[in-house]
Amino acid sequence: MIQSIDYVAIAAPLILALVAGVVLLLDAFLPRRTPGALGLVTLAGVVAAFGVLMAQAAEGGRRRTFCVPDSLGGGGCSFVVDRFTLVMSGLALVAGIVIVLLSMAELTDRRIPAGEWYFLLLSALTGAVLLPAARDLATLVVALEVVSLPVFALTALKRYDGRASEAALKLFLVSVVSTAITLFGVSLLYGLTGTLYLERLSPALSAGSGASGVVSVAVVLVLAGFAFKVAAVPFHFWAGDVYQGAPVPVAALLSVVSKAAGFAGLILILVTGLRDQATLWGPVVAVVAAATMTAGNVLALRQRAALRLLAWSSVAQSGYILAPLAVVGGRAFTASMSYLVIYAAMNLGAFAVVMAISRTAPRNELDDYRGLASRRPGTAVALGFFLVCLAGLPPGLAGLFAKVVVFREIVEGGLGWLAVVMAVNTVIGLYYYIAWTARLFAPGPAGASRTRSVPVTVAVGVAVLVTLAFSVAPQLVLSASG
């Protein structure tokens, strides 16, 4: 049985995978170990993949491949490129560009093996690009693992640092348990429906007379792995420890790329796969969203370490992103996508600045940011902007509009209580964001700033530009995801 494969459709993940291999080879065979060169190759690969995506977007048409031949009943395709795929993959790739830039700064001390690093990074990106295109459970699960496994390794790659290893182990344990739960759910779903294709799941479940209890359990279990990725309650425990222990670029990867992949999977399963079971999962998602945003914000409230704070804040932001998914029916999930895209921009910006600071202050506590405005005004203003964006206040209009979009969907969906919970959470969130921002502009020690890292500066610049663009014209995001 020979299938024709649409290589244009799978070009982006393909390029990433190939470049990953190339990087590994280069690392092995190049005479001098030049992390910079490897970084540039990686960057080129990611940019190329992004270019492919842009081309596909410009072309506009849907592409599908790995379809079931008509001789076997037809109907399902495993790999589909549509607007959703393009947005989510594009998000992962742009985030990838920033993360590669951050990595270039991280890898300067040569204690981390650069070849492996970039290889793993590219692998994770491959998974993240693949995942939104997946339309059957097997591909979805494999893509999810392709995102996850390299991240464990990346976290542990600072082999000399016990904290990194510890973080990796924690991440790994929670992840594999979640994956196991998801797989168990997948097996149950398969048993209930007899298919792995998302599009067929919902009709099959509706048609099947199977016990509703089993269906419910299966749905809940399936969501586990993705909930782990987005760090939703009760899968959020790992976030603080892992973000703190992992290298900053990996934390950024976890908070953006990995999270985007998780949300892509969630949206695919919920909106495509379990479309007609919305009454079943809607309330669950709503409760989880409320719990997630509350837990994240409350935990972030008294943090003193920048990365931990960002960890819990990104948990809280996950809650906001989850909230529209709880709305039954309609296209509320586009609000989640919009929020995710804007969130990615501002959160990456924050991580980029944190990366810049971590080079001078390894402990990276909030007090290290005191007086940043007088030492490095540009960086301070940028971080202030990102934090205010995350808080959702002007001048961070991007964050504000993102929240408005989400609020709108919730209100229109009739989930008033969730809107109120989210409103309260916005306030709690503001507390720690503004406290951090205030530190930036407080009088502080006037130490000389060390030499700046060009890649980090570029990364911050990219994030600022993108976030500003989203602030002035959020329509960019809204029309792309809507």
Partner: protein, 495 residues
Amino acid sequence: MSWIPIAMLAVPLLGAAVLLLPRFAGRVPRGYGLAVSGVTLALAVAMAAVFDYGDTARMQFQTDVPWIPGLDLRFHLGVDGISLPLVVLTALLTFLCFVHLAGRPQSRPRALAFTLLVLETGMIGTFLALDLLLFFVFFEVVLVPMYFVIAVWGGPERRAAAVKFILYTLLGSAVLLLGLLVVWSQAGTLDMVALARGNGIARSTQILAFLAIGAGLAVKAPMWPLHTWLPDAHTEAPTVGSVLLAGVLLKMGTYGFARIAIPILPEGAATVAPWLGAFAVIGIIYGSLACLAQRDLKRMIAYSSVGHMGFVLLGFATLTPVGVNAALFGNVAHGLITGLLFFVAGAVKDRYGTADMARLGGGMLGRLPYIGSLLTFACVASLGLPGLAGFWGEMLALFGAFRPAAELSRPLFLTFMVIGGIGTVLTAAYFLLMLSRVTHGRPARDRGPAVDVTAYELAAWMPLVLLTLLFGLWPKALLAITTPAVQAILPGVGS
């Protein structure tokens, strides 16, 4: 498409942006903020000059371009008789704040000028916006700058006060947003002008939306019992912060009632109005009583704002043209008078090093005769003496309560009116007692001579004094602008 409103927003914003340029690092020209806000004020005055007073109910100087189609958000600006006075007031107060700063430079002048200019953009934008979401955006713009004004240039307890301010008001804003979104989801448009013409929202939804919007605005106003952020913020804020906070920021809340809550949700307003009125009069009495027992001058003025805003809210609650007129008049008057009060209180604090009445001692009229006299003037104006601006807002609000809109219970509002009347006596009581304590008596002997009012201070205060007199003696100057507009937003009500 009119360029004036856009220019009014662009000038301070660009002015702030220019300050970000590295060449301004460390040294900012002294008159910079003054110049930028002066240009803005000139634009505001020009707008007021060109404004067609024959048709104040119509939106003038309209600009309407789509901004975010995905959110249905349009960049829709415009001015009518309701917003024009507030726009001019905002521009004026900001300008006067810069005049004040020119005479009394603060630390980090560049940052302060930047913050104040951004603040001005937000404040003016709030009064110009004719799109619900745009209004909300501008409404939010002021939060962060004001936070920094308090947190960086404030008093010893500034941090807690600033945090309380921003969290509390953000909570209000978030609730407000929910209400706006309910309106949007039900009516399908964000355009205030269109919404005010009638929108067919069901009564129960209107009540819900009014509650949410009202609560959000009430935090900003502030209405009892949502006021506790205000005294702390005022006490700790620097003079310019207090002036803008009292003079403009509080007005954004009450303006929202006139612009959004009442015209767009008339049935909701009619249902909730008795409660609004009740909270308003409780606020009047409560604020006055709280003032009576205050020890800190600035804190007392802050609580007096609670009382005065109670009158404004009472005016709105009557849902009559005269009541809404009263509220709008009260808004402007309170902005002028309380702005002046905070200027003077700040000057007192600068000279005595404290605003604690017990430590101020007495005899200010002997030690600082001009400042003492101006304090007396401001207090007398604030307690609602006829002939000064504060009177008309209070009087008309009570008059509105005397005969509220037909759908409201008259006995209830008569009760409100009587309580409000007692409130005016209490208001007079605390102001006069404060004056008696602070300005009268013999000055403590151990204090050396102090610098009385400076030229900069006079320049910053005199416009407020003159306008207070003008609007007090000739209320028509304001009422003629607001009345047609108010009658337009309350169709079929009143005589």
